[in-house]
Amino acid sequence: MTSQPSPAYVARVAAVFNNNGNGVRGDLAAVVRAILLDDEARGAPPGGFGKLREPVLRVTHWARAIGAHSVSGSWLLTWELETSGQRALASPTVFNHYRPGYVPPNTSFAAMGSTAPEFQIVNESSVAAWINTAEAMAGSGLGWTGSTNDVKVDYAALGSSVADGSLHRLADQLDLLLLSGRMSAALRSGVLDAMAAIPDSTTAASNRARAATFLVLASPEYVSQP
């Protein structure tokens, strides 16, 4: 089952050997069953529990948590995620954008026979398109009213929390709102370095917020959900 069963797994199996549930000790059939059917043997994909977040969730999370608003009031996002592989409410077939039974080839999931459905829309084009979309989210927004982007965040307001020069506070805020505290050390240092490289000016606060938000949205932490 595994080269390194956890101590708890071993203990559970040992307990069955000691008592198969009917007061019998040494029931090997029960022991085999316990080994094969333990949650750890059956259910643990490599790296543990979790999933890759689909593009729609990446956008809705940002919009709700950071506080995006729609200029038109109609949230004109129809085509925004087409290139990321998931134009909402417009899946190519009745089988949705990706199948529950999808096993991504040439991955650790395939080696385990595990499904990872969201990977069916992950490819060289869609990952690049997502990061480009993230740049727009961190910039002037998504969608188009005819004269301006529709769904946007007031980064000047977001950045005002670092107007006093405390870059850590913004990093912490993005960690809380967008990453549930999962910001890695590497991401934190990248965010801080990018913000620190922006010289003071009237637009510095807004630009620092944009740079930090873009790096978070484009980070691997943001697209995964453990």
Binding site: M1, T93, P105, G113, A128, I131, G190, A194, I198, A211
Partner: protein
């Protein structure tokens, strides 16, 4: 998210038990066969004579189960009559059918194609397009009695996603590799840039995935560049590109991040090279002036999704030799073929789109001097039943497909055209026909052209030994 239990038990059960069950349990024997595949790949590439020139295999996938009974239909009196009786309102009107002759089928039979497919018929009469009759997914040859008893059948017949996976990989959904990718595993050693061995213009599909070959996705305008990773002022700071590149260079904190980052890194590593190669090659623009289809519908290829996919494939083929590529497998797809309803309304446009896009592609390859090096073949989830449900027809099995290119044995109908009538020995109900040629055999003919020898083909197509021979498509 839980592990696939079936795969778990298959892997943990004795391999001997799985290997003893012919055909159906392809997963484990395939894995066993693949164990040595990578190691032998370079030797096989040499042995298969892949030092010669350049070849590209292009899969045109018609998603949904194309009703090919109306793409290649009988025109001799007796068979036309039984076709018309069987199909009812789905029968293509005789005044919109163009004859193509006997095709090498039984004496007295003649066939035709709808006028909507006239561009393809042109290539047929030039000998550059051939038909393969009544091909379908098969584990081994089966009879109607076998079907009725459920013996030796492909898993999950008539299921879209499983039959699509079976066409592409010889296994139902969840297959880890496709036969295009498995052929790529053997052929990739001949390529200077193996990353571009198996290229999709149409989205993720198992067809192009091998043990070593990974499907490479290209957009219809070429690779998608990550703008924020290009040096300059991005998202508020000129430091952002450098920081982004650092973040994307990692290996992630869990399997999801790790696999996602691998794709990102491949995208970053290749988009510049590929874009430069495409820019150095011909633009191959699609015509924007609309073609008027027989029903009067305008078709502007420049705006057509299938034509745009074939255009990027054509550009990559044009750039292939300069990139040191010798063998490539491509995939393009078009949807809308699941004609349970509105079939007679929708089929003409679908036919027109496919015919004109493929025609443009073949003409372009010819102008580039590459027509002899390109082989385009059609594929679909399944055919459909002859019988009408009142407005369309339902999932079938055997279907007719075409191959096109300079090396094709064209002007010919390969395999055996069934009798287009209900109640025959091939009719499994509602005119769903038992295939007479297997996808495996179809693939073997294509793989042979690409340079795979007998043992290579057996490795890429695990149930090939269940069939005798392959159609001489090239």
């Amino acid at each position: 998210m839980t592990a696939n239990r079936r795969a778990f038990f298959r892997a943990s059960a004795g391999l001997a038990a799985a290997a003893a069950a012919p055909g159906l349990r392809l997963h484990v024997p395939l894995a066993m066969g693949l164990a040595g595949l990578g190691a032998l790949a370079s030797q096989r590439a040499q042995g298969a004579g892949i030092q010669d020139g350049y070849k590209a295999l292009v899969c045109l996938y018609l998603a949904g189960g194309s009703d090919s009974h109306n793409w290649l239909l009988p025109t001799d009196t007796a068979n036309r009559a039984s076709y018309a009786t069987a199909r009812g309102e789905l029968a293509w009107p005789t005044d919109r059918v163009q004859d193509i002759g006997n095709g090498g089928q039984a004496s007295g039979r003649s066939f035709g194609m709808p006028v909507e497919l006239a561009p393809l018929r042109n290539w047929y009469t030039q000998g550059k397009l051939g038909w393969l009759a009544n091909v379908g997914t098969l584990v081994r040859p089966v009879s109607k009695a076998d079907f009725q008893a459920g013996l030796g059948l492909p898993a999950k017949l008539f299921s879209h996603n499983d039959q699509a996976a079976t066409w592409q990989s010889l296994q139902p959904e969840g297959a880890p590799t496709g036969w295009g990718g498995r052929m790529g595993d053997i052929l990739m050693a001949a390529n200077q840039r193996p990353v571009f061995t198996a290229v999709s213009a149409s989205g993720n599909a198992v067809f192009l995935s091998g043990s070593n070959v990974t499907q490479y996705q290209v957009g219809t305008n070429g690779p998608v560049a990550i703008n924020g990773a290009q040096d300059g002022w991005r998202a508020g700071s000129s430091a952002v590109p450098g920081e982004l590149r650092k973040l994307l260079a990692g290996s992630g904190a869990n399997a999801f991040e790790a696999e996602y980052l691998r794709v990102v890194q491949r995208s970053l590593a290749t988009s510049g090279t590929l874009q430069a190669a495409l820019d150095a090659g011909p633009a191959l623009d699609l015509p924007s002036a609309p073609i008027t289809l027989p029903a009067g519908t305008p078709l502007a290829l420049a705006n057509d999704a299938l034509a745009r996919q074939l255009r990027i494939v054509a550009r990559m083929i044009a750039a292939g030799p300069a990139m040191g590529m010798k063998r490539q497998v491509f995939m393009v797809s078009v949807g809308g073929f699941d004609s349970h309803s509105f079939q007679m309304r929708d089929q003409p446009l679908l036919m027109g789109r496919v015919a004109h896009a493929v025609d443009w592609f073949l003409q372009t390859m010819q102008a580039q001097g590459q027509l002899n090096n390109v082989l385009l073949f059609s594929a679909s989830d399944f055919g459909r039943g002859l019988a009408s449900n009142g407005d369309g027809c339902d999932h079938g099995w055997g279907s007719h497909h075409f191959v096109a290119g300079g090396s094709v044995q064209g002007g010919h109908i390969h395999g055996s055209m069934p009798v287009t009538a209900l109640g025959t020995a091939d009719d499994l109900g509602a005119g769903r026909l038992l295939p007479s040629t297997a996808v495996t055999q179809y693939a073997a003919s294509l793989g042979g052209w690409m340079g795979l020898g007998a043992s290579d083909l057996a490795a890429a197509l695990p149930n090939l030994g269940s069939f005798s021979g392959a159609p001489a498509l090239v």
